[in-house]
Symmetry: C2
Subunit: 381 residues, 2 copies
Amino acid sequence: MTTSEVHPRADADARMALIELAHCVEPADAVVGRLVQRAGPLEVVDRIRRGGAGKRLGEGLRARLADSGAPSAEARATAIGARIVTRVDREWPRQLHDLGAAAPFAIWVLGAADLRLTLLRSVAMVGARACTGYGELIARTWSAALAECSWTVVSGGAFGIDAAAHRGALAADGVTACILAGGVDMPYPRAHEALLARIADEGLLVSESPLGIEVRRQRFLSRNRLIAALTRATVVVEAAERSGTMATARAATEMARPLMAVPGPVTSPASAGCHRMIGEGEAALVTSADDIMGLLDLGRSQASTNPAPRANRDALSSAERRLLDAFPARGAATAERLVSSSGLPASAVWAGVGVLASAGWITEDPAGWRLVRDRPPPQPS
Amino acid sequence: MTTSEVHPRADADARMALIELAHCVEPADAVVGRLVQRAGPLEVVDRIRRGGAGKRLGEGLRARLADSGAPSAEARATAIGARIVTRVDREWPRQLHDLGAAAPFAIWVLGAADLRLTLLRSVAMVGARACTGYGELIARTWSAALAECSWTVVSGGAFGIDAAAHRGALAADGVTACILAGGVDMPYPRAHEALLARIADEGLLVSESPLGIEVRRQRFLSRNRLIAALTRATVVVEAAERSGTMATARAATEMARPLMAVPGPVTSPASAGCHRMIGEGEAALVTSADDIMGLLDLGRSQASTNPAPRANRDALSSAERRLLDAFPARGAATAERLVSSSGLPASAVWAGVGVLASAGWITEDPAGWRLVRDRPPPQPS
């Protein structure tokens, strides 16, 4: 299906506005982000074009927007086999909402797998570039074990722990996603060009940087927050005391994502950051891939045994209740069918299935979404 | 000074009763221990002799007491250069009270250092007999660092971590105490005969088993609780999941002593017990001897900034207030002088200085005890 089939005109306009914002606003710019939350992407792009609304939306952004080439971005992505996924798209990973005003507007993806579904069951494995043989062994074997249990291993493609994590998942014929700081057409580090090409073939290359953007220090930092935000938990294999890995770890903690760390010899500086995080209670100590999956499942079983307030039908919005009532009593419904049966716009359907799924009313299915059997069926309203 | 100078007749009788109990009651027997708490050692020994007071104090104990050779125990200890320290003696480590009814009645000591003062500033370092080179290195170097900072390193004399801990302290010309499961005249393991002899020369060999008693499984377990009880904190360097070391660790936790553990490679089974304890929050993760001392000093500074209820003069017993008022305004007083100036029996003085010192009113001094200057001087009553 093509984009136009799913998105009516209003969504297509919002989509282009989000792509334009992704071109002219620096990643994690919460000031513009808050404005977009309040006024919507179309209004903000309009204000930037008119050069209005304060210093932040002044000439700098206006000039960058004019020069961005955003209107041709989609065509350029398609030309290299990539695609752009924006906040209003079905493939958008809902967990990025946890970044609040600092969430990206759009994401560039290279790889056949569905971004949203691939990352639903994902874990970040990150660590030192200057890792030890011990750390590399752990990253490679645990990543393979996670991949064998259908977990997507997410990392940053760097030397050391990152590369070992990607390679372990690939060796197990699993899915791995590499989140890049620059454009998905700008492999970095260059020495990993072949590895990154293989990840694009068998998994996903992902970036919030438009095509052609080179890595810069600030983009590494915002990339690290994206790794934490996209995944269910972050595992630090080895990390020195002050490092980019620590930024990823902090981001995970700030978003209340489980943070785990691997102990190592106290004589190894590469384990010092892990030991500090464990010692100060910031990270859970894990000694095996099973430990990681145990903690992830614990989080899930707690979520399902603690009925969330949102699971109550009364707590749903009227659009969400309308969507819930539009589900067939048996079997799965595609998004298209739900748009038609609910009469809601596609964007409301995509947002609504996210809410209903996380509240436990519905579940994803190869054929779309279906009602969860063991919950009381929705009452006619 | 000899024992008779310090202990009036009543204390000498209690002392002999405690030595007799140490000969006929198994270590950590809380049933007899509670009876001694209620009725006193003289009464309990008398009941055992009369064969009375229920099954527990029946023929078994009576026969063991008759065969124990307790009356000659002191002479036999003196003959090999050892001594017996009982609950009513000055050298008795007050922290053993934390064992409650399971506290030993008497302790055999081989070595010149004062048992009580040596253990005031002590830390237990324990771990696997089947340790790795990594664990041995950590135990040896950290023990040396602790010894250099005047910490007494306490361990159990076993192969592996224990021996490395003792050797590290000895190499740093520090003090180390080995707590044995059998008698101090029964070196175990035999391969450590030379090491144990050196510990007796430069530190302390300690046991609650009378002379001539061989190690037995039950005595290892009670010895482990003694290691935890005698020290300010317990550090586990390496430990497999189920091991005697874990018993020491549990004992430390039960007595609210800080428990610390050293992480290691997750690929090493010898670190599995440490990782479990750290992961479950039972033990603090330590990565250096400085970490250990930092946690110990933290405990001390918290104790001194949190005024304990006992620090209030009104919370002292009348005997303790009387003892406090018997201190000279300046300079130190020996126990003999305090017996004379307070008019209290020696046992009340020894018990009282323990209470006053832990409540912060007085402090130990090479010449005895003295009032702590920065507290308000005691008001005349």
